[in-house]
Amino acid sequence: MRAERKNLFGLLEPLLSHVEKPSRYLDHEWGANEEQDGPFHVCMVYADAYEVGQPNLGIAILYECVNEQVGMSCERAYLPWTDMSALMRDHHVPLLSLETASPLASFDVIGFTLAHELVFTNILEALDLAGIAFRADERDEDDPLVFGGGPSAWNCEPIAPALDAVLLGDGEEGLVEMCSCVRDAREDGVSRSEILLRLSRIPGVYVPSLYEIVVDESSTRWGYAIPRKTTGAPEVILKRCLPDLSATEPVPQRIVPYLGIVQDREVVEVLRGCARGCRFCQAGMTYRPVRERPADQVVEAGERGLAQSGHDELSLTSLSTTDHSQCAEILNRLNGDLAPKGVRVSIPSQRLDSFGVEMADAVAGSRKGSLTFAPEAGTQRLRDVINKNVTDADLDEAARNAFEHGWRRLKLYFMMGLPTETDDDVTAIVESADRVLGIGREVVGRGRRSKVQVSLSVAVFVPKSHTPFQWAGQLDPEEVRRRQSLLLHVPRDMDIRIAYHESTTSTVEGALSKMGRAGFDLVCSAWRLGCRFDAWTSEFRYDLWVRAATEVGIDLVDVATESFSLDARLPWEHTSPGVSKDFLRREWHRAVDGVTTPDCTRSTCAGCGVCPTLGVSNVIAGERR
């Protein structure tokens, strides 16, 4: 039953002095939209702590899009930390929105960000705190509609039973259409099932309850989804894609938090999409095509955003900022205007070549902490397999350039467990670091004072849907540990430091990335056993996940390490980012053969299928280097 809409901050306030970081729950931040008159009310939920959820660009964009609509209001909610949720349960305080402290269960629509697979138990925790039934089909007629969207929508089956509808792709227009649909349907007085049918007719909207799961000889053990008869729901739901990013507001984040958050800075999204074609990268496949904002818009937006927010740092964000065709011009113009005001410009990742270092130098000024590159694999052979189009020479040149520009510490990101990886590929990671360290000492000198240092961060590869590696099994955790041990035992200089990820977290992520709708039972079981905040090392409980898997009759390792046949119908094939299965299959074969595929923004079309399928194309503001 729909809860009454009223401000319950008075119930929360007495609890604030008993919890860690009470500023997580305060609201009233600069830029928050306090006028929440509705009458149609939406709440966007990032099911993690405030400091993780608040910087999320997706929520910021959608918050503004909905609040701009006449008659619609949008608020935010985050998951209370465990100390607060325990107190809230003790004092019978439901999960509240920030802006008006209204019960989540009083909203017309609730939208969850599906940021990654490890947030699934937190979504259940949020629903439970809100007093909303876990399963969409158990909700009352007037209960809020629960939407999902975001990066993990591309295999949302393990959480799909909790969602009334899922939006695939860009949300700027789609979410507004979904909300309008619900508003109009409520005004028409139609049933909840009719609302779901209407939602399914909006392009890009997946309504899980309108699909049944079929397991047969053509599928994996997780089956595939087909529309239920008479629903008229599409067999394949294509993502929404904005053809022109520059037509959207470039400064979506207007809220300035009190609490120190994980990315505490002004943000301008300079481009969307990446066509480099790294075969492990889900974002690279699902956010295509590339759409750049022109330099003038980026510079104007950056300066306007800083004036509105008062931040002292501006981040030019995207999947690959240094690929922007006007990157140098943007950085030079912004630096000239902002440096005298003590404002720093930052870019989230560096291209592995001299241009990347030049750009890093342009934003670093005299502040040269450490510089990060992501070769991802230690040998040329394996880099060709993953289509990371960089060579040893690129790495060496970039490193030399970085040391010559004044950096002393380089961070190198690698992955372990990539398809076809051998022990030689693993040991070559240290050899790469050794070579880079040698270059540093050659440039800077060998003495202790040179402080040249190379840090390696080695993550475990998790195969993701809609990538050329979607058929691959994840490396067995035992084998991961053996290779990690191998890596650590390669003789190395004491100025090379190695950090690696726990294989257990990756196992859970890998299992949830592969499972179909049956994965919901696992998520429910894990939540019941106490799994929360699984992405936090301090909170992650592998033992509970193993118990949960046992309860539902599966083995996590068995699920995560399973390879799928290239011909099998996959659990996520009813959703499409526009990249064709044929292209992904072709890319898999090329990976196995060690053949690379060029970036279509610098070369010819690679035939991924996005542009003809979605009726869009790359939008490049200048000419790419």
């Binding site: 007495p14 002095s17 009233h28 931040h311």
Partner: protein
Amino acid sequence: MTPGTFRLRVMYEKDDRLAFLGHIEVINTINRCVRRAQLPFRVGNGFARRMSIQFSQALPVGASSSCEYYDLALTDPLDPSAALSLLREATPPALAPVRASYVTEAQGALEAWLTRARWEVELIGATCSPQDLVDGIAGVSSAGSITYMRGEKEKTLELQKVLVEVFDARPTDSGCSFVLDTRACPSGSLRPAVLVAATGLSYDSIRVRRVGQWHEAEDGSLVEPM
């Protein structure tokens, strides 16, 4: 202060739910307010190129105040009332700046210079009488020192140095209240909640508000900050 810069002292409040902001959160927020106000602030020449700004002593999380201060270095001597007006427009109402003027005489860092504070303390749900409260604090005071945990660290304060006076104890609708004067010294400052906890009196929650801050001159007289 660096030659060619002007030290603008701003008095502001900390109220309502923003009483729950920690000191670092207040500092970051006011930094952003100053930038939004587009005052001609001075940027330091250090590695991080930060705004030159100093704050008065940290308030406990949950405590409100009618008299917090910061000193902001400006490169142009903007009229204080104009600066105040710009700051008010750029600041959340619960941290509203209420006065601004230039500091002309030589003073040390604000945090160290403001050595005396006055607090209004209310014990919500307390069943004791005001006299019990005064007696309880007197008992703690007569012990000479107070030892308490701050995070994982044990701290000891000599009450003779940090506790100046307790007065105006009275019943309220929801418990009882009193006024406390404290002194900051190099070994630390007395937080009202620590003093009250040491009495062993029973209450549901505590409401604390800082209502005055001064510099204590060598002759014991109190110097107004503005």
